[in-house]
């Protein structure tokens, strides 16, 4: 984690989906070492908000700023600094866990095979390295997705319901990962229905319909 503190700033985001005004003037900021927990009922736009922060979805109004600059202008640099986990673990069913990591993390930074294996091991799926993703259980796939986030060494983690399908051990592991990440100066936005009990203070935001 490099030394310079970063900040993420979401300013007055408005998004319409057809006729529905899904996000109405959402604004907040996250600094280095902070975790923002986003929660709310179904259909309130949590996933939409995360996709706007990623840069996948362009808001009708408002902007997202990374260290003061609008993400539109620094797209490559911003994407290099973030890791996004969506609802599905986003793994190719026909590739092994290791290959999945190699082909996704490998696009962001040069990473030796040994490090990928170690990361898989750290997430408890070291034994699955040579297995195709389609034979893994939902929980194991979720852990491989976590390994991918770790291996990317991203500053900003954008996690959409990351605790789905994780058992108690897996949830504990993820919480530890979040602790370490924010402890080293990383930022995280986590959409989750459950409580996040970390040792550190958490920012919380509820989206209402």
């Amino acid at each position: 984690m490099n030394g310079a503190p970063r900040s993420l700033s979401i300013e007055d985001i408005h998004v319409w989906r057809g006729d529905r005004h899904v996000l109405r003037g959402v604004s907040f900021g996250v600094e280095s070492g902070q975790l923002m927990h986003i929660w709310g009922a179904n259909g309130t736009g949590k996933t939409t908000l995360l996709r706007v922060v990623c840069g996948l979805l362009r808001p009708e109004q408002g902007r997202v700023a990374w260290s003061g600059q609008a993400i539109d202008g620094v797209r490559a640099e911003y994407q290099a600094a973030l890791a996004y986990v969506s609802h599905e673990p986003a793994l190719k069913a026909d590739l092994t866990a290791l290959e999945n990591l190699r082909y996704s993390v490998g696009l962001k930074r040069r990473v030796p095979e040994a490090e990928l294996r170690a990361t898989l091991e750290h997430c408890g799926v070291g034994a699955c390295a040579e297995l195709p993703a389609r034979v893994l259980s939902a929980g194991q796939r979720r852990r491989v997705a976590m390994a991918r986030v770790l291996a990317m060494r991203a500053l900003l983690w954008l996690l959409d319901e990351p605790f789905t399908n994780l058992d108690a051990a897996g949830s504990a592991l993820l919480l530890r990962m979040l602790e370490e990440h924010t402890g080293q100066g990383g930022l995280a936005l986590v959409v989750a229905h459950r409580e996040l009990d970390l040792q550190r203070p958490i920012l919380r935001m509820e989206l209402c319909a």
Partner: protein, 244 residues
């Protein structure tokens, strides 16, 4: 500096302007087409080669010209909407597409009817006819693509992009008669230099062309209003505009 342009392109302004312009366009169209048809069908002398069969040019050539003009309008409006995010451009593109497709179909049908006495066949696979047929398929593609999306905003953007991609066909249709040995006759109206047609035949043709363009303008304005309302149906100004 550009604020005046954005104000000009704002949906309520476009809605009101189109309402004001449409009757003028249509009146002018009626006058021009009326004059053109009467002069062209009755008063213009018969062609020394084709006799009276040539008179179909007064319907065929303007239709073909408009099919290209409408596609270009659709592509340019779509491009403006995509690049500068001026939403009314999507409404213009959506309004122009079916009109252009109809003109293309009219050009193909009238051309086919003309082909029988002139070339002995209703259809020939020559470059101009083929590229005009491709233009019709492109229109269908753009219209279908827009309708296929559940989210109308996405449909607008996808259709605009396809329109821009297909615009390459417009110069192909236009220049096909000069680039290849085509069965179809060459350009009647050159940009510079004397036209190859005598005045008595040319003036009604020009009148028809202008009349068709005004017709396109008028119908476009009418359809544009509907498209603008559809896209802005949640806005406050729409409720005020439609209040009895």
């Amino acid at each position: 500096m550009w604020t005046w342009f954005y104000r000009l392109a704002s949906p309520p302004h476009v809605y009101r302007t189109a309402a004001a312009l449409a009757p003028w366009f249509l009146a002018l169209a009626a006058a021009m087409i009326g004059y053109g048809l009467i002069d062209g069908l009755v008063f213009a002398p018969p062609d020394y080669q084709q006799g009276d069969a040539f008179r179909i040019i007064y319907v065929h050539a303007p239709s073909a010209w408009l099919s290209l003009f409408a596609y270009t309008t659709m592509a340019v409006a779509g491009a403006i909407a995509l690049i500068w995010r001026i939403k009314v451009g999507f409404a213009v593109a959506a309004a122009a597409a079916p009109i252009g497709a109809s003109f293309t179909l009219a050009a193909l049908v009238t051309g086919s009817l003309w082909g029988r006495p002139m070339w002995g066949t209703y259809w020939a696979w020559d470059p101009r006819l083929t590229s005009e047929l491709i233009l019709l398929f492109l229109y269908f593609g753009v219209i279908s693509l827009r309708k296929a999306f559940e989210d109308p905003a996405r449909g607008d953007r996808a259709a605009a992009l396809l329109g821009v991609v297909g615009v390459i066909n417009v110069p192909i249709v236009h220049f096909s008669v000069t680039w290849w040995n085509s069965l179809h006759q060459g350009a009647t109206l050159a940009k510079f230099g004397k036209p190859t047609m005598p005045g008595s035949m040319l003036w009604p043709l020009l009148a028809m062309l202008l009349g068709y363009m005004c017709f396109f303008g008028g119908v476009l304005c009418m359809r544009l209003r509907g498209e603008v309302l559809d896209r802005e149906r949640q806005a406050v100004w729409v409720r005020e505009a439609l209040a009895p």
